[in-house]
């Protein structure tokens, strides 16, 4: 970084734009791809529940706080 741009605040460079765009797109993609086993797990859980009661659908949401990852499951019965 040259003296002038250093003095007058941070100039936006193409690299910093690339960094911000990447962070944004990955935050979105990670949330949707984070659990590749989800579909399989869902159908297996469904099978187990069907043994006991009638089930219509299962929704699983994943959330992460700073140090805990949570799977939230909602089972909708028929």
């Amino acid at each position: 970084m040259s003296l002038f741009s250093g003095l007058f605040g941070k100039k936006e460079t193409s690299a910093s734009i690339a960094r911000d765009r990447l962070k944004l797109v990955l935050a979105h993609e990670r949330a949707s791809n984070a659990l590749p086993y989800m579909d399989e797990m869902k159908s297996e859980i469904m099978e187990v529940i069907k043994k006991y009661t009638q089930v219509k659908d299962i929704h699983i949401n994943s959330q992460s706080n700073q140090n805990i990852d949570v799977l939230e499951m909602e089972i909708i019965l028929k």
């Binding site: 460079t13 990447l22 990955l26």
Partner: protein
């Protein structure tokens, strides 16, 4: 017992096979018995990078289908008695790889070699899964550009999900290799720097390879650049090879060297 290292990338054309060829030579030169396997079924590549394309008789699929012995298919490198190569088949059948057979082959190779390097196909199709399934370690190659980093991130997630090690609750050791970095562009703020890429991918670094014209001529000749003592990229590969084997090696200084006045007035 040897270890299985998969070299992968997500996006194609980032220098994955070139990296693998160089690291294979590098580790062989360090005295390890190395076998490089081209797992990019249908698209044979690694043979030309190693300059061994004229010696191919059998390929990795022939071995797995027991059309030949392993020793008939293994090709010894021209220069190093420690380095062997197992070529990809050129079949159009993408689904020809069988998970159990891949495992069997790797188990046999682990007894013969110290390092088994797998060249994974780009993308996330079947062949990729086979290349990653039994990996002990993964090296993720990315160039410092948005599409390559994005695809690398995707692939890292899949390694964690699909590898046998991860399914057993263990972790595949993962490192990033940043390839084709141009220090002048980084300095100008026109290319993502090493820290940017590592922060985004949240993985440790194992090497940065500067962009280097000499790589093209070395590829033309089928002589990995690592054998060129004067090339900066060759030096980068030598250092990465040592780091993979557990040695602590300084990183190459890739800052742009310029004078005091130029630094102030640029």
């Amino acid at each position: 017992m040897g270890i299985v290292i998969t070299v992968t990338s997500g996006k194609g054309g980032v220098g994955k096979s070139t990296t693998l060829a160089n690291l294979a030579v590098g580790m062989a030169d360090e005295g390890k018995r190395v076998v490089a396997i081209d797992f990019d079924i249908g698209l044979r590549n690694l043979d030309m990078l190693l300059g061994l394309e004229n010696r191919i008789v059998y390929n990795v699929i022939d071995v797995m289908e027991e059309k030949c012995n392993l020793s008939q298919a293994l090709i010894n490198d021209k220069h190093s008695k420690n380095l062997y190569f197992l070529p990809a088949s050129q079949t159009n059948d993408k689904n020809i790889l069988d998970k159990e057979k891949v495992k069997e082959l790797l188990e046999v190779l682990k007894k013969e070699f110290d390092v088994i390097l797998l060249d994974s196909p780009a993308g996330i199709e079947g062949g990729f899964e086979h290349a990653i399934a039994y990996a002990d370690r993964a090296l993720i190659v990315s160039t410092p550009d948005v599409s390559s980093v994005r695809d690398a991130d995707r692939v890292i997630g899949i390694i964690d999900a699909k590898s046998e090690k991860a399914q057993k609750g263990e972790e595949v050791d993962k490192h990033v290799i940043i390839n084709r970095l141009k220090p002048e562009l980084v300095e100008r703020g026109d290319m993502l720097n090493t820290d940017d890429v590592l922060n985004i991918l949240a993985l440790p670094l194992i090497g940065v390879v500067p962009d280097c014209d000499k790589v093209i001529s070395s590829t033309n000749m089928g002589e990995p650049i690592i054998r060129d003592d004067k090339a900066e990229s060759g030096e980068a590969y030598r250092r990465i090879s040592k780091r993979i084997l557990g040695e602590e090696v300084d990183y190459l200084d890739l800052s742009v060297k310029k004078g005091f006045f130029k630094r102030i007035f640029s």
